[in-house]
Structures are given as C-alpha cells and as structure tokens.
C-alpha cells in the first residue's frame, strides 16, 4: 500500500529511523553501513538529493536499486556522459510521428485545415518522448539515479540543479509537469572532475568507503548464498589486503563478489594458491597490479 504524496516503504509505513531503513534495505539484499543508512534516511525525510562519492565498485549504484526495491518505486537511471543535453535527459518531440500525423491530417481534411487545431494536436503529450528526468517526475514515486554526474559538462550540472530545485519540468508547448511526489534523487560521482559547489550544497554528501571485513563477508554470503563461509572469509581477507597494497585500481566490493563467484564456479571451498592465481583477473584489472599482487600479497597470504 502506498500513501498518497509520499514515498513509502514496502512494509507499508515510512521508516521511523535510520535503523529501520537499514533493516528494510538488508531485507532487499543490500547491506548498508550506519552512515549510508542515515544518509538515505535523511535524503528521504529532507527531500534532498543524495550525492554519493567513492571508489568504483563500492555499491553506489546498487544503493539506488535497493532503495527503489524497498519503496516499490520505479528506478529511473540517467547515465551521464560528455555532451549530454536536455533532449537526452528531459524530453524530446517525436518528429517522425508528428510528420505522419501531419500528413494524415492533411489527407483527411480535403484541404480545409484548422491551423490552430492542427498545431494543438501536433504538440500533444502523445508525441512527447519522456527522457529519464521527465519520466522520474511523471512516474511518482520513483528513484532517480543520476549516474556519474562528473562525466557530464558543467552546463548540464546547472540545468540539473534547476530541475532538482523545482521538481518540475516546463515544456513550452505543453506547460509545466510537476511531480506529485518528488523523486528520491541519488547522484553518483567517481571524481573525475570536481562537481560545482552549488550542486553539492543542495545535496547530502556521503563518501562511500570500502566495507569492513565482517560486512564484506556478510555481503558475499548474501549475494552468493552457495559459497562456503570459509571461502567468503578468505576472499574478504585477501581483498582487504589487496586494497592496502597500493595498487593502481584497488578492488571494490563488485570485484570481490566476482572473484568469489569465479572461485566458486571452479569448485573452490577455500582460497588456494592455484585457483587464486588463475582467477586473479576477476579482481585485479591491471597487469601491473596482478604482477605486484602475485609477488607480495598472494605470496604471503597463501604461504
């Protein structure tokens, strides 16, 4: 059941505190730490976008997926890239269909066309293609994931800021479309570029750290129920060591899950040197890192 005008948890009521939200997220398969749960809770209650930064693969995007799951909301994803503009983020007119409509109207009218009527029918909601932001505003309740905002240009940020401030989109031909329920907005950044302060100021800022050992074991066990406890602990311990080993690309949770799965598929019940070496490609993505890891971390870890 959903309340009108409010994003509501699957249990039928709003989470009363961060702990309750954390429990709901856990039930849907995402294990947040205290900070992340508080951040998501505040984003919900304060109607502020949540700005997540952190190394690649720490679960920034998955949080948005889990939140959508918890609130039975539609997840709308806007992947940013260089040169993204309003037509790709907001809305666009479906020109070919408009032309078809025009031709059909012409053929049916025997030359007696009402100009005003024709124009009205041409700029109808039917011919509007909703891109992610408009979609998120129309389909309340929704979770809008603006992924990798740092890849978009500065101008796009300013534009995004405007939309987020009003929770509304104005289309000159149609008027303003306003969200009944403001979407829960999650922005992620990998820090390839510094995002403007103006945007950050409107958001709750959270740096997502790598999970601690116990949490990572829990995540592995949750995501891969078939693997043995021993393998989960071994992989989590090895991944933790790799993260401290001054590598070009320290592995995130996504990589440790891949690694554990690869080992499991090879029939491993614990981490042994041969299989670890054979599956290293699942967790380290640079040749230099693999060489360094083989010489140091794996060597001492596995004796």
């Amino acid at each position: 059941m959903r309340h009108a005008g409010r994003v509501t948890a699957a249990s039928g009521s709003d989470p009363a505190d961060p702990g309750e939200l954390a429990a709901a997220l856990e039930a849907s398969g995402y294990l947040p730490d205290e900070g992340l749960a508080t951040a998501a809770y505040l984003a919900l209650r304060m109607h502020r976008p949540l700005f997540l930064e952190g190394d690649a693969g720490v679960g920034k995007t998955s949080l948005a997926l889990a939140l959508a799951d918890v609130f039975h909301a539609e997840l709308v994803r806007l992947q940013c890239y260089e040169g993204i503009d309003a037509a790709q983020a907001l809305y666009d007119w479906d020109f070919p269909r408009q032309v078809l409509h025009l031709r059909a109207a012409e053929a049916a009218s025997d030359g007696r066309l009402d100009q005003a009527e024709l124009e009205r029918s041409l700029y109808d909601r039917r011919y509007l293609v909703a891109r992610p932001i408009l979609r998120a505003i129309e389909h309340a309740p929704s979770v809008l994931l603006v992924d990798e905002i740092d890849r978009a240009d500065d101008e796009f940020e300013a534009f995004l800021l405007e939309v987020l401030a009003d929770n509304a989109v104005t289309i000159p031909e149609l008027g303003t479309i306003r969200a009944d329920v403001p979407p829960l907005v999650v922005l992620t950044s990998n820090r390839t570029r510094e995002v403007h302060d103006a945007l950050k100021r409107r958001c709750l800022y959270h740096w997502v750290p790598h999970p601690g050992f116990e949490r990572e074991v829990a995540i592995l066990r949750r995501r891969l129920p078939d693997i043995t406890e021993r393998l989960a602990r071994d992989v989590a311990a090895a991944t933790k060591r790799l993260r401290d080993a001054d590598l070009l690309k320290p592995p995130g949770v996504a990589e440790s899950i891949d690694w554990a799965q690869a080992l499991h598929l090879l029939g491993a019940r614990s981490l042994d040197p041969d299989r670890a070496a054979a599956t290293l490609g699942a967790v380290l993505k640079y040749q230099e890192d693999a060489v360094r890891a083989r010489n140091t971390v794996l060597a001492e870890l596995l004796g």
């Binding site: 961060p18 408009q98 025009l102 070009l248």
Partner: protein, 373 residues
C-alpha cells in the same frame, strides 16, 4: 522556537566554528541543513548527530577526516588527532630534510587569509611561501600584457556529439523538423558533423629549489592558459608533494591568482620528489579522468631526490593515459645541454616532446607545441 531547538542550534553553531578552524568550509546554509537533519534524528544519540553533520557539512573527501577529528574534539572533549584516511586518499607525502636549507622553522607561518590548509606534513619539510608582490606596477602590467599574448590554445579533438554543418552525414531529425515547419514538404537536406572540443590541458609544475628561477614564469604561463579555457585546464605543482592550484589560478587578475597559488603551495623551493608527486597526481586525479586524452605538460629539470625508477614507471602510466606528454626543461636552453639527470633519463622514453622553457621566446614555442599536440 523551543528551548531544546535553541540549545541544539547553539551547539551546532559552536561546532561549525570549530569545524571552520579545522579547515572545513561549513557555510551557513550547510549549518542550517545540519539543524534540519537533526530535526529528523535523535539528538541524544551521538552516532546520529555525527552522521547528521558529516552528511550536511562536508563536501569533499578531504573534509572527512578533518570532520572526524573536529567532532571527536568538540563532542568528546578529546584532542584532535588526524585519522588515517581511506587507502585511495592516503597521499600525504612526507618529505626528507633538505640539507641545504635547514631553516624549517621560519616557513611554517599560519594565520594567513583564505581557506586554511590542514597541513599534515612533517616538520622537516621546507615550508616556504612564495612572495610575488615585489614588482613595480609598471613591471607587473608589462608582464601581464606579455603573458596574455602567450595564451596557449589547445589542439581540438572530435567528440561523439554532432553539430549542424554544411557537409557531413544527413541529419534526419533536423531534416524532418525543417519539413514540419513547411507543412510537411520535403526541402533541402540538413547535414551534421562531429563536434570538436579543445583537449584538456594539464600543467604539472615543479616548484622545487632548483626550479625556483623559472617557477614564477611557468605559473604565469599556466594562468594565461587558464584564462583561455578556465574549465578545461588543470594546474598542479610538484615539489615534495602535490598541490592543486587550479582553483587559485582561476582568478582573473594574474597577480592575485599567483598570490593565491603562492599561499596554497606549502613546499615552494623545497626538495623534489617527482615520482611520488606524479603518483599522487595519477592516483587521485589522472587516472580518474583528468589526464585521460589530455595534453599534459610537465615542467621540471628532472632533479629527482626520490627513486628515478618510480618516476619512469609513473610517467609510463601518464603516457598511456594521456594524449601527449610534453616535458619542459628550462636547462635545455643552455648550450651543451644533455638530459643527464637521473629523473630526465628515466623520463625520456615516455615523453613525446622535450622543449625549453627558460625564456619568453621558449614559452611561446611551448604554446605552439601545445596548440599542435
């Protein structure tokens, strides 16, 4: 406002003051956000208060450990201590003592205006600030005029976006739109072509002792480049550690920009650890995107106090990430120059162009190299 609310607001304001001293720019609207956040949480639970502040007052990973320390100090009555950061952020370079200048004490003058820098380096590091305000007005204007002439325009690259063009592939959408405007009559075909954009320019300027005579001119050059493309240029200085001076150099007035940069650079005229600095740059900025496809200009004489092998390794990484690596060595302008310093020898296999940068003419040549990179 109830008493409790007022108490909370007062405590938060006091905390924000502590935080600003610690170097986190907790602006009033952020403080307001923290009070609002506390309204949704349990103010008697220290963990919830901690997160309410951390989520609203911080804006940068660099703020986080300052926040943690300030929180512990303010609410826990502990002395602030620096908390080790996450591995990816741990880039504090500890310098070795510079044997030529043992006067490490006189440089650590704090209390200057601007954003406080929570410097965590060891005492041995030669901390010197740069004084650029010694020129007469006429000299300054002359310099500014000359450097404005240099303004390097960076070579273009094609992007995956299209723009309307007179030649190129047929632009279906625009053609249809044009038809629409004419009541559906087919007309002239619209065409489109790939849009071009200037490449990003990254300047890494060595400000160690051996580069002291040239660093000022090179920073002015960087400022001129910044004026051309403020959001497409990044400037870092290398010495015993890495400092990002992009923000300082964005100021329009060159003297104020340079003064700002001078304050931001803590290791002016110190030793050189190019390899470490380069690694810090690549880990924190370069690999994440700043160096990708960029024209990277390294200005240094290659006097490396660290391990030249590390420098070679890191330059290899840089070369693979970037479009072009240009090395500016001011000593190249001298007769009989051979790139013989350890750092230079390690660098040579990875750089595309080696140019001089010792004079105004040499800098204008550098601008030319950048434009055609």
């Amino acid at each position: 406002m109830t008493d409790r609310q007022r108490d909370v607001a007062e405590i938060v304001l006091g905390f924000a003051r502590t935080l600003r001293h610690a170097g986190v720019p907790a602006s009033p609207d952020r403080v307001q956000a923290m009070v609002a956040a506390l309204g949704h949480l349990d103010v008697l639970d220290p963990a919830q208060v901690f997160w309410a502040g951390r989520l609203t007052l911080c804006a940068d990973p660099a703020d986080l450990d300052r926040y943690d320390a300030a929180f512990a100090a303010y609410f826990g009555g502990q002395l602030p201590r620096s908390v080790p950061r996450a591995a990816a952020l741990q880039q504090i370079l500890v310098a070795s003592l510079d044997p030529q200048s043992p006067d490490g004490a006189d440089g650590t003058d704090d209390g200057e205006e601007g954003r406080p820098y929570a410097v965590q380096a060891s005492r041995q590091e030669v901390l010197r600030r740069r004084d650029v305000a010694e020129l007469t007005q006429a000299e300054r204007e002359e310099l500014a005029r000359l450097f404005a002439l240099l303004a390097p325009r960076v070579a273009q690259r094609t992007t995956r976006r299209y723009v309307a063009a007179s030649r190129g592939v047929v632009d279906l959408e625009r053609t249809v739109r044009r038809m629409l405007a004419q009541g559906g009559e087919p007309s002239r075909l619209a065409r489109r072509d790939r849009r071009t954009k200037p490449r990003r320019l990254v300047l890494l300027i060595d400000v160690s002792g051996s580069m002291a005579p040239y660093a000022d001119a090179l920073l002015r050059f960087a400022h001129a480049a910044m004026r051309v493309a403020p959001y497409n240029t990044e400037v870092f200085t290398l010495g015993t550690r890495l400092t990002r001076v992009t923000r300082e150099l964005r100021r329009r007035d060159p003297d104020r920009a340079l003064a700002g940069a001078g304050r931001a650079i803590p290791d002016w005229s110190g030793g050189t650890r190019l390899g470490d600095g380069l690694q810090a740059f690549l880990d924190r900025w370069g690999q994440r995107g700043v160096a990708r496809g960029a024209v990277v200009v390294v200005c240094s004489d290659g006097w490396e106090r660290g391990d030249p092998a590390l420098l070679g390794e890191q330059l290899g990484r840089l070369a693979r990430l970037s479009h072009t690596v240009v090395w500016v060595n001011p000593h190249m302008g001298k007769d009989g120059f051979i790139p013989a310093t350890g750092g230079m020898r390690a660098a040579l296999p990875h750089i595309s162009r080696l140019v001089a940068g010792h004079s105004f003419a040499a800098l204008s040549q550098l601008a030319d190299v950048i434009a055609h990179a």
